[in-house]
Symmetry: C2
Subunit: 288 residues, 2 copies
C-alpha cells in the first residue's frame, strides 16, 4: 500500500469517527454546530491523524484505542486553522478551497468554534484514560509549542532582520510540535517504551519541520486550485518563511535532508516502520 492510499483509509476512519462524535447541525445552538462541521469536514487530508494511527500500529497498538486520539488531534488542527485565518491574524479568505469560517459565519462564531474544538479535542484525547496523552497534547499546543510559534510568526511579519534561528523557532513551534506530538501520542496509546518515545519524537520534529518548509515552498510554487488556499499569501504578507531566509533551492534541500535524518532515526527501533518511513517521504513529495 502506498502512503497516499494508507492516508486515504485513515482519513475515512477519522471522518467517520468525527461524524459520529460531533453533534449534528440541528443541535442547539445550531450555528456553532454548523460552523464546526463546516470547518471539520472541509476536506483536510488528516495527515496528523494518519501519523498518530501509523505510530500506534507500528508499536502494535489497537485502532479503537488510538482513533479518538487521532481524531482529537485533527480537531486541534482545525481550531488552529480557524483562528489563524481570522482578520486579526492572517486574514485569509480561502481555506481548503472554500471561504474561511469567519467569512461564512462571522468572526464571533469563528472564535467560538475554534474555542469549542480546542475543548472537544481534549474530550477525545481523554478517552483512552491515560493522562500522559493530555500532557503531551497540551504542551505541544501551548506557548512552548504551537501558540509560541504562532506568536513569533505574527511578530515576525515585515521584519527585515530575520535570522535562520528565527524562522527555525517559528516552524519547529508552529508546526513540528503538534506533528511530533501526534506521533508520540499514537505510540503512547500502543504502550511504547520511554526510549522508543524519544526516537519517535525526534522523527516527528524532523518531518514536522520538513512539512512546514514544504508548505512554504508550495505557497510559492503551487496554484490556488491545487492547494485550496490563497497561494502567494506568505509573500504578500511578508511572512517569515524558509524560502525568504534560505532561498527556494536551499529550503528544498534542507527539507530533503530532514526527511533523510528522520528516516535514519527509525533504524534504532525493533518495530515495523515501513509506513512511518513512507509518510516521511510523502512530506516532501506531496503536491497538495
Amino acid at each position: 500500500m502506498t502512503p497516499v492510499e494508507y492516508l486515504e483509509i485513515q482519513k475515512k476512519r477519522v471522518n467517520e469517527y468525527l461524524d459520529a462524535f460531533l453533534l449534528g447541525e440541528d443541535d442547539a445552538p445550531e450555528s456553532i454546530h454548523r460552523a464546526i462541521r463546516y470547518s471539520v469536514f472541509s476536506g483536510g487530508k488528516r495527515f496528523r491523524a494518519g501519523l498518530c494511527i501509523t505510530a500506534a500500529e507500528s508499536f502494535g497498538g489497537d485502532i479503537d484505542r488510538v482513533l479518538p486520539v487521532a481524531s482529537g488531534i485533527e480537531l486541534i488542527h482545525t481550531y488552529s486553522l480557524i483562528h489563524d485565518d481570522l482578520p486579526c491574524m492572517d486574514d485569509d479568505d480561502l481555506r481548503r478551497g472554500k471561504p474561511t469560517l469567519h467569512k461564512v459565519f462571522g468572526e464571533n462564531i469563528a472564535v467560538l468554534a475554534g474555542d469549542a474544538l480546542n475543548a472537544l479535542a481534549f474530550t477525545l484525547v481523554a478517552k483512552p484514560g491515560d493522562c500522559r496523552l493530555i500532557r503531551i497534547l497540551a504542551d505541544a499546543i501551548g506557548t512552548e509549542g504551537m501558540i509560541g510559534g504562532q506568536v513569533a510568526d505574527v511578530e515576525a511579519v515585515e521584519r527585515d532582520d530575520l535570522t535562520e534561528d528565527d524562522v527555525n523557532f517559528i516552524h519547529t513551534h508552529k508546526t513540528a510540535a503538534l506533528i511530533s506530538a501526534s506521533l508520540e501520542m499514537g505510540a503512547v496509546t500502543a504502550g511504547a517504551e520511554d526510549e522508543e518515545l524519544v526516537v519517535i519524537r525526534n522523527f516527528g520534529k524532523h518531518i514536522g519541520l520538513a512539512f512546514q518548509i514544504v508548505d512554504d515552498v508550495l505557497d510559492i510554487e503551487s496554484t490556488d486550485e491545487v492547494l485550496g488556499k490563497d497561494v502567494g499569501s506568505d509573500m504578500e504578507q511578508d511572512k517569515a518563511t524558509y524560502p525568504k531566509v534560505f532561498g527556494l533551492d536551499r529550503s528544498k534541500a534542507i527539507a530533503r535532508d530532514l526527511v533523510e535524518d528522520a528516516v535514519g532515526e527509525l533504524d534504532s527501533l525493533r518495530h515495523e516502520t515501513g509506513m512511518l518511513k513512507g509518510l516521511a517521504q510523502f512530506v516532501i513529495s506531496r503536491v497538495y
Copy 2:
C-alpha cells in the same frame, strides 16, 4: 472563618501556584507570556477555584491534589473573559479595573493568549492523573456548556422576543456549567462517590445560575469603580439578561430561591458542608 476570608486564603494559594507554574515575562515569546500574566493576575476573586477547593476539602481531599485543578479552572475562566472582551464579541474596554487585553496587546495576541490558557488549563487539570477531570472540564466548556451559552448569548443580542427559556439556557450554559464543574472536579479529586457527585453538581447548577443573575443585577445597580468593568454594558448592548426578561425584583427573588434550593440539596450529604453553604450565600450577598 467567613466565606470572604476563606476565599481570600484560597485566592492567595491559587495565585502563588499560578505564579510558579506560568512561564515568566522574559521567556520567549515574551509578548504572550506578558499578556498571559497581565490577564491572569489582574485581580480576579478566584471564586471558581475557591469552590473547587472547598468541594475537595468537604470530602476530605488533599489540597496538593486539588490545587493544580482549581488553578487550571481559573485559567479557563481567564481565557473565556479574554475572548469575550474581543471587538468581535462584547467589545469591552475595561475588565477588573484595567484595560482589556486586546486594548494593550492587540487582538491577535489576545486571541492567542486565550488559546494558550485553554491548553495550559488542561495541563494542570491532568496533574492528578484522573481523566474524569478532563472530561468534566471539557464537557463544561464545550458547545453543550460554556461555549454553547456564549453562542446563544451572542445571538440573543437585540432580540425582542426573548423568552424565560432563552435566558435560562444562556445563563445555565454560559456560567453555571463551569461553576458546577468546578465543584464536581474538586469532589472528584477527593474521591467522592457517584451519588455525592450528583448532589454537588446540582448544588453547582443552582448557585451557578444565581451567580450569573446577580452579575446581571450588579451590571445595573453597581458602579464601574466597585465592579472593575463597564457597568451598564449589558443594557447598552441590549444583551439577554434576567432583569431584561424577569425584571429586577423578580430576578433577585429567583437568585435567592436558587441559593436556598442549593443549600437544601447539601443536607443529603454526610460531610461537613458549612463552607459550601457559606459560599452559596456569598453568591447573593457579594457586591463585587
